[in-house]
Each structure stands twice: as C-alpha cells, then as structure tokens.
C-alpha cells in the first residue's frame, strides 16, 4: 500500500496532502466553535471523493479494477451523505443498484470485446502462419528448380571439362563456358529470390529510399512522399514496403493509371501507407497479391483497406501499429 502511495502521481499526492490539511483545519474550526452538529463531515465527504477519484483515475485506463474502484467510491460517498444527514430511509440503495448494473454491463461488454479480440488474433495468426508457410514453400521450390539445378549443371559441366581437358581441349572449353553460364544464372536467381524476401536498399537506407527506388523503375509518373520521424521496426518497415510495392505493381499492371501517389506518414503510433492511382478501378483482392498483403498487414495487428470502384480511382491504405 505504501509502495502504491509512493508510486502515485506526484500531483495527486500533493492534492491528497492539501485535502488532508484542509480536513484537519475544519476539524479544528469545529472544535474551537464548541462542537455541536458535526458539520465538517460535509467538507470531508466531497474532498475525500475528489482525492479518491484522482487515485483511481491514475490506474491504467480500461482496467476493470479502475471502474470497480470508482463505483465503490461513489457508493461510499452516497452512504456517507446518508449517514451525515442523520440516517433515516436507506435511499442510497437505488443509485448504488444503478451503478452496480452499469458496472455489470461493462464487465459483460469487456468480456465480449476480449472474446472478439481473441477471435481476430486467432484468425490473423492463422493467416500469418499460413502466409509464412506458403512463402517458405515457394522459396524452397524456387531454390530447388532454380539455383540448385543450376549448381548441379555447373558441377556436371566442370566434371565434363576436367575429363576432356587433355583429350579434347576445345570441347573442355565449351563445357567451361556452359559452367560459367550456369553459375551466372544461379546467381541471378538467388539475387531475385533475396530481393523478394527483403530488398537490400530497404535494409541499407530505409523506407524512403526503397520506395523511391521502386518508383524510379515505374513506367508511369509516381509521386512519393514519405514522412517518418524515425525508422519503424523491421517488421513494420518491411510490411509498409511491400504494401507500397504491391500497390504500385497492382496499379501498373491492371489500372492503366496515368499517375500514382505513394504516401507514407505517421498517425497516432501507427505507420499509414497509402497508394492512390487515377486508373480505372476494379481492383480485386481475390487474385493473388492483395490477399497476401492483407495477411501480412493483419499479422502485425494492422488493417488494410482497398477502395476501388469501377472507373476508379483506387486507394489502398494500410495502417500498421508501431509498438515502441
């Protein structure tokens, strides 16, 4: 209890001391006035309410404990008034019943809210696991059919060259050239694969440079505006990048846009990424890219909004909460 008192916000503590002094002062006044009707109770009750309210308001917002505390305090206040006004009919029972009802309702609602939250988290987690799983499968397949196969060919060609080196140097040279071509192709495939997982310029220079680099390669004018006070976490940064990349790819491929705007900014502890194009609209989530994007965004507890009426324009907006 003492620990809690010490942890109490300094302003609230100062307030408590002031109130205590005031209460003592009126007690002295009452005693000096020769006692009689105990009127200081009418000062103690409201000041006590104010300090108690401050105490509970300092508790974390949304905690059920805080509501219980405040309701109990109100009930005690009402009982205090009832006692100070000379007992009689126990009228506080009505407002207290009302308060209890509201509190009960609140508890039930919180329960429902948390159940809905659990459901959302379960779905988005399953989506995230599925997305990660399918990405790993794709990488495995790409490695197997691409770089691995190329390296087998490379080894084979080197073996053949070794075998032919003395017998048929010309043939050996051909095999060596093939080996080099296989190595070059393997490198190219590995590079494309790595870029799809985490683009190097994003790691090197952050979102602004990476999104600008995306825009450079577009055949349509792209206006980029990135305003972030500091670099977000890697997960948020990567997701924001892929929202921009996927939104841009979508606009370039389907929308016949003549202008694309990519806008990244902060809004209340979240990074907001918006891709806007003036194309013909009708973007659908069913086909590939945008669905994967939703899973990626929701895995971070974010939300993705796609507005794409026929005839355009198309807006893709992701809100990615940042836990700092």
């Amino acid at each position: 209890m003492l620990g809690m008192f010490l942890l109490w916000k300094r302003t609230v503590r100062a307030q408590a001391w002031a109130v205590l002094l005031l209460d003592l002062f009126v007690l002295v006044l009452w005693a000096a006035g020769g006692g009689g009707n105990f009127w200081p109770a009418w000062v103690w009750l409201p000041t006590g309410l104010v300090v108690g309210w401050g105490w509970w308001a300092a508790q974390p917002a949304g905690a059920l404990k805080r509501h219980v505390g405040q309701v109990t305090l109100l009930a005690l206040f009402l009982i205090g008034i009832w006692m100070a006004s000379g007992f009689g009919t126990f009228w506080p029972v009505y407002p207290i019943a009302g308060l209890a009802f509201v509190l009960g309702l609140r508890a039930v609602m919180r329960r429902e809210q948390s159940e809905a939250r659990v459901e959302t988290l379960t779905t988005s987690r399953a989506g995230a696991v599925e997305a990660a799983e399918s990405q790993l499968r794709r990488i495995e397949r790409d490695l197997h059919d691409g770089a691995q196969a190329r390296l087998v060919a490379l080894g084979m060609n080197l073996g053949l060259a070794e075998q032919q080196l003395t017998k048929d140097p010309e043939k050996a040279q051909e095999h060596l050239a093939d080996a080099r071509a296989a190595a070059a192709a393997a490198l190219q495939e590995l590079r494309d694969l790595a870029r799809g997982i985490h683009p190097p310029i994003l790691a090197d220079r952050g979102l602004d440079a990476a999104v600008r680099a995306l825009a450079t390669h577009a055949a349509v004018p792209v206006a980029v505006d990135v305003e972030l006070a500091e670099r977000p976490s890697v997960a948020v940064e990567t997701a924001a990048y892929f929202v921009a990349a996927e939104g841009l790819a979508n606009a370039l491929k389907h929308a016949h846009a003549s202008r694309i705007d990519i806008d990244v900014h902060e809004r209340e502890d979240a990074v907001v990424v918006r891709v806007l194009d003036d194309g013909r609209g009708g973007a659908s989530e069913v086909e590939g890219g945008l669905h994967g994007l939703r899973q990626r965004v929701e895995a971070l507890d974010g939300s993705l909004r796609i507005a794409s009426p026929a005839g355009g324009p198309t807006v893709i907006e992701a809100v990615l909460p940042c836990v700092r």
Partner: protein
C-alpha cells in the same frame, strides 16, 4: 597498376587478389571493412580501390559510404564497387560529382575474367563501368531522353556501361565514325556544357540515370 581490395568474405577477397595478380595488377592491401579501406587508400594512394558494398559492422552500405568519402579525400584513386545487387540510387550517388574513375558492377562479372580486368583498367584510367543490370533498369525512360532516337538510346545505354566508341561500334555492328556521330548528337541533345570528352560522357550517363 596498384589496387586495394575491400571485401569481407575471405573466399572472395583471396580469389579477387589472385585474379588481379594473375593479370599483372599489384594488390597492395586487402581489407575487410570500410574504416580499414579508408586507412589503406589514404596510406597507399593506389590507382584503384575495388570495394564491396555490404561489409561489417552493420552489413548495410558501409562500402559505398567509405567509397564516397574516398572520392572526396583521395580523388586520384578510382573506385570500382562490386556487389551482389545493384541499385540505381547508388550508381547515381557514385557518379554525382561528374568525374570519371568510377564503376559499379555485379560480383557476377568477375566470372568473365577478361571483361572484368578490362573494366578495372578502364575505371583506373578515369573511365566508367556501369553494370548492364543498372543500365537495363533505366532503359526507355521518359523526359529528357524523349528527344533521342531509338539508335541514340542504344548508344547511350552502352555508353552508360562504360564502353568506348570502338566498343559500342562493335556491339551494334556500326562503324566507329557512325558511333561518333551518334555520340555527338546525344551530347548536343542533352545540352551538356562543352568540356573534355570523359567528363561529358559521365554527364551523359548521369542524365541517363536521372531521366527517371
């Protein structure tokens, strides 16, 4: 010719050293991070520094940053950046001062030893070498390049890779004279201020990269 190599992977550092020595290029130092590179180049004043982009301690773009620092501190040393990936942004930064003596190639290019060594010599001599992959990103760009004919565009993209007029002539099956005419026309259309040939070629390449 004297060279300094900065590459953190020992396998590649040793391989590169051997490759250069086999081609009569003296490797005066081979280091594995950006700070060591700056020290080595300031001390040795080599003709060229061959630098990997991603190195310790952060494994981001410290090689490039060190290279940009060296461009200012030791302007006589040419810089050839080699990397597993190419970014147009980085190419622009390297060329930004409008001087020659810079190159930016994928590491893959070492597989063609002759072409690689040729690129090293060309950059050390004050020329440029941009990876075809960087150049390809910028093919068919708008704006300033719109005035160029398709043929001039082709010539400019080969110029961006760092090829000489003779090299361009060979690649496009043209006479050197015809290439010279195209180059003159490109420089004129891009309204580049008159100065020496190398400088104007670098500026043309920059215009090419900036056209986006």
């Amino acid at each position: 010719m004297r060279a300094v190599i900065a590459e953190d992977l020992a396998l590649l550092r040793d391989g590169l050293t051997r490759l250069l020595r086999d081609n009569d290029i003296e490797v005066v130092d081979a280091v594995s991070d950006g700070d060591a590179l700056v020290h080595a180049v300031v001390r040795e004043q080599p003709d060229i520094a061959i630098v990997d982009i991603r190195m310790p301690p952060t494994f981001r773009d410290e090689g490039l940053r060190a290279a940009l620092e060296l461009r200012e501190r030791v302007p006589e040393t040419a810089i050839l950046i080699i990397s597993q990936y190419v970014e147009g942004t980085y190419a622009r930064e390297l060329l930004a001062d409008g001087r020659g003596g810079v190159g930016y190639l994928l590491k893959d290019r070492v597989m063609d030893v002759e072409a690689f060594v040729e690129a090293v010599r060309r950059v050390a001599d004050g020329g440029t070498a941009l990876d075809p992959e960087v150049v390809a990103h910028f093919v068919g760009r708008r704006d300033r390049l719109a005035a160029l004919t398709p043929r001039e565009n082709e010539v400019l993209s080969l110029m961006a890779e760092g090829r000489s007029n003779a090299g361009i002539a060979e690649a496009l099956v043209l006479t050197v004279g015809a290439v010279e005419k195209h180059v003159a026309s490109i420089l004129q259309k891009l309204q580049l201020p008159p100065s020496d040939e190398t400088h104007r070629r670098v500026l043309a390449v920059l215009a090419y990269l900036d056209a986006s």
